[in-house]
Amino acid sequence: MTLNIPGIQNLLDMILFAFRVIVPFVFLIIVWRCFASLKRGRRREDPVVILEDMVTHETIPVLYWENSIGRSKSCDIVLNDPTASRDHAVLMRRESGWIITDTGSKSGTFVSGTKIKGPYQVMPGDVMAMGSTALMLKRANNTPKKKKWIQRRAASPFGLLTSVTFIQIFLVVQACFAADKFSPMPLIPFGVLQVLEWGLYFYSIKGLGRVSFELETMAFLLSGTGILLIAGTDVKSTFTQLGALAGGIILFCVMIQFLSDLDRVMRWRLAIAVFAILLFAANLLLARTHNGARNWIKLGSFSVQPSEFIKIAFIFVGASTLDRLQTARNLTGFIGFSAVCMGALFLMRDFGTACIFFVTFLIIAFMRSGSLRTIALICSVAAFGAFLILKFKPYVADRINAWGHVWEHVNDSGGYQQTRVLSYAASGGLFGVGIGKGCLKNVFASTTDLVFGMVCEELGLALALLIVLTIALLMFYARSDATRSRSTFYSISACAASGMLLFQTCLNVFGATDVLPLTGVTLPLISLGGSSMMAVWGLLAFIKASDERTYAARRKS
């Protein structure tokens, strides 16, 4: 109570409380508007071109950017033709136009009478022959060629980002009064945050002419909340976090640029895989043990967690375009790569991250193969592995033993952190006790592994739930966009990236609150940790790339 007049102090407390009540409501509106606008902005499933059967004159709409053609019922364009292969060819839309490629059919694919080898561009009017079927590519003239999504207006990026700034003003006021006395220090991270947010806004909307900014808005909302939360406790540690945010934004932009050319991406996949494995090797050789896990490399005055960046590489290696999926059906290469990654993580004793890789692996493997049998086999191998770990790594077993019984371990390592999280989270109620006014901040790992508890305590359960729901919404968006992106590569990578983020969120939130054993992974965008912050922005690039509008604007200009 440094203010001598109790009346003013009380008034201030009430104003700050009112701010904390307003924040989750505005937050909800922004997130919902972003999500609705993302959903609205998806490509309509109207055919751009159609195929006309030269014999029956039946027309087949071409609905997707990548279409498998074949006898199999699961193909996008089903050929009722016993002489065609089950998966005969893939018809793809690219920047240059429509391309057909044969996917190892028995009888081959012919365009205007010539048997094709490799990708072959088809023009409207060209006839493609597969087996005894001949299809002519035609423009779909019944639908107007105008891009529909411009007519169905997206949420104004300016309005969204202004609301984010608005929320951050409320939060920074909280942070400034963290110690009851006004301190201007949190204004520094607030200022930098605004520069980064509006910088990316102008670069992307004015510079690149993109129309959508929903994903970036959601990411800034989360990153900003995390940074301002930490500003209430320790302003200095937000500086590296802000640096990482800047780095993350650059990575995000570079990756979107890189992802625009899928042929280039597919060429680079092997190099990325080798690079990832080398990074792991470097990690194992150079790392120092930090809190039981050897997952840090020291570069000058910075500590880097390579496994965070390998998450991005993992998705690069796992996802694939449809034509390559059809020709390389087995998963052997990817399984091998995943095994190496997870083996390295076990050697680093980073079991939380290993779990994240494993779940991401399952998502990618299933989306590629659709084979439940393979997945079941892999899962049983993993279960056996987990059993061995529990058997030979007693400290992991200890954590599992305390799980669900944390109240019996209030003062030992089994439940010390979780009981503090639960107790202080409950103390915060729906709207929290105020930034910097919590007590969980004094518990070890409060700004990383236990940050969910800190959000609950200082900003309230309402905002904490909204934060994790935002991450869940990203996944539901990525899923609903799976058939509408420009390639299965984007679909698979967006689903994998968003699934990875949500699973990581689950491990963090449920670990801290004793729903699951505590594993010590970060809460995406909220937890303190530069590598994590950058890597999450990198992962968001996959989701951004799956949005059809991302590359449309570039072509328009």
């Binding site: 639960l422 409950a426 109620g429 799976a482 689903c495 689950c506």
Partner: protein
């Protein structure tokens, strides 16, 4: 890409797991948030004491039993009141787990789901709790108990209000003795235990009420029968004795004189099954609760007992155990034609904004006796007082009662019991008193009961 779209549905599994986990956490927060927050390590509750910012606890006349001042818990100004109310109110550290301060710590500290422990208005959000207990009646009970261990409880069997709940030994919560936790002499033995709610004593003769209930229901010509009481009887080679030889006794005189010889024979005549059945019906081997605070079970089980053991069990020895609160409830049942009114001690919980969040009210408990059995027992118990104990003990209250002197062995003196109620409709009060290490029920518990009932009858 259609198949990719279909396969992406696998993400729903992850989404489902996420929502299940989140739902589990939120459910835990909603149901247990108060307990989670009320931890000794929680610094929002500050320095050592859990209730440095808690609400007040008041007795029925608004006397302050406990309140928080300048970050400290302060109790009533009278030491005897503090000690008498200790077990009802609870201690500062929360060691008395049946106390209000422990069981209602969320309410007192002002925890709620919306604001947690935050104090947006700058004031403590703790609720005040008003009890139905009367601190001066409790003080009287403690004065009468003196240094003896025991328990005394009085409640209004029509409204359910608890008026007195005192347990001894106790200590002063304002100045807890230094040697409270280190003492080895046994003077604080069971000091954190509320003997009204959490103890089980050998009942002795008060158990004859249970045997009587079984007799009323199972022996058709009960009032015309007599029992020959020659001071002792051999059952199965084991001698059961009385204080003196009473000669031929009718049933009601056998109860009034509390003849072990007669009641042992009755229990044997009824048999194990009927005795077990009536005891279970009357709530033995079962836990009750007072405002959600659970009580210890009374115990009666004669399955497989020999006839001599059955005989002893019928007079309240053998393995029989009773809990004072349970006995009080049985008194309420007999007074109310078999169905007791549930006792309560929280009159109201009032939030800082003046909103009453909980108020105690009259509520029927589950039936413990048939109405006819209860009325018959009431008649016999009234006879006990009018012809033997003397109405002088309870002037003008038409008390129905039963005393008991329970042998506990191990070189200790018996436990003295008295349980009963006023059958006068203007003073619907029931009581249960037990004194450890006493001479007889009448001289120990009887004196306390007499004083308590006389004083309680004046409470409005």
């Amino acid at each position: 890409m259609k198949t990719t779209g279909t396969r992406s549905l696998i993400l729903w599994i992850l989404g489902l797991c996420f929502f299940v986990g989140l739902g589990y956490f939120v459910y835990g927060m909603v149901t247990n948030g108060g307990t989670w927050a009320m931890q000794p390590f929680n610094k929002h509750l500050t320095s050592g004491s859990q209730l440095s910012n808690g609400g007040k606890i008041l007795d029925r006349n608004n006397a302050i039993l406990a309140k928080s001042e300048n970050g400290k818990r302060v109790y009533n100004s009278d030491e005897t009141v503090r000690r008498a109310m200790l077990h009802a109110v609870g201690d500062t550290k929360g060691y008395i787990s049946t106390g209000i301060q422990y069981n209602y710590r969320s309410e007192l500290s002002g925890y709620n789901l919306i604001t947690g422990l935050a104090t947006p208005t700058g004031k403590s959000g703790g609720s005040d709790i008003k009890l139905t207990l009367d601190s001066s009646l409790s003080k009287l009970a403690l004065e009468k108990l003196g240094s003896r261990s025991g328990a005394a409880a009085v409640y209004n069997y029509k409204t359910g209000e608890m008026l007195c709940m005192v347990s001894s030994p106790n200590f002063d919560p304002q100045n807890p003795p230094q040697d409270l936790d280190t003492d080895k002499s046994g003077k604080y033995s069971g000091v954190y235990l509320n003997r009204v709610l959490s103890s089980s004593y050998t009942p002795g003769s008060i158990f004859k009420l249970v045997t009587s209930a079984a007799a009323i229901e199972n022996i058709p010509n009960l009032d015309s029968r007599t029992w020959d009481c020659k001071g002792s009887i051999l059952i199965n080679g084991n001698k059961i004795t009385d204080v003196s030889s009473y000669g031929k006794l009718s049933f009601k005189n056998a109860l009034a004189k509390s003849s072990n010889v007669a009641f042992a024979q009755i229990a044997v005549e009824l048999g194990n099954d009927k005795m077990n059945a009536i005891a279970n019906e009357m709530g033995f081997n079962k836990s009750f609760d007072l405002d959600g605070i659970p009580t210890s079970k009374s115990v009666y089980n004669v399955t497989g007992a020999q006839p001599n053991e059955l005989g002893w069990s019928g007079v309240g020895q053998y393995t029989d155990l009773t809990n004072p609160y349970h006995m009080l409830l049985i008194m309420g049942a007999i007074a109310n034609e078999g169905t007791p009114v549930k006792p309560y001690m929280i009159s109201s919980i009032t939030s800082p904004f003046g909103l009453t969040t909980k108020s105690g009210h009259t509520q029927e408990g589950s039936r413990l006796l048939k109405a006819s059995t209860a009325n018959k027992l009431k008649e016999y118990m009234r006879y006990n007082v009018s012809s033997y104990y003397g109405d002088k003990m309870f002037p003008g209250l038409s008390v129905c009662a039963k005393t008991g002197t329970a042998e506990v062995g191990q070189g200790k003196k018996p436990n003295g019991w008295m349980v009963g109620f006023s059958s006068d409709r203007n003073t619907p009060l029931a009581f249960a008193v037990v004194v450890e290490n006493a001479n007889t029920g009448m001289t120990s518990a009887g004196q306390i009961a007499s004083a308590l009932m006389t004083a309680a009858a004046k409470i409005k």
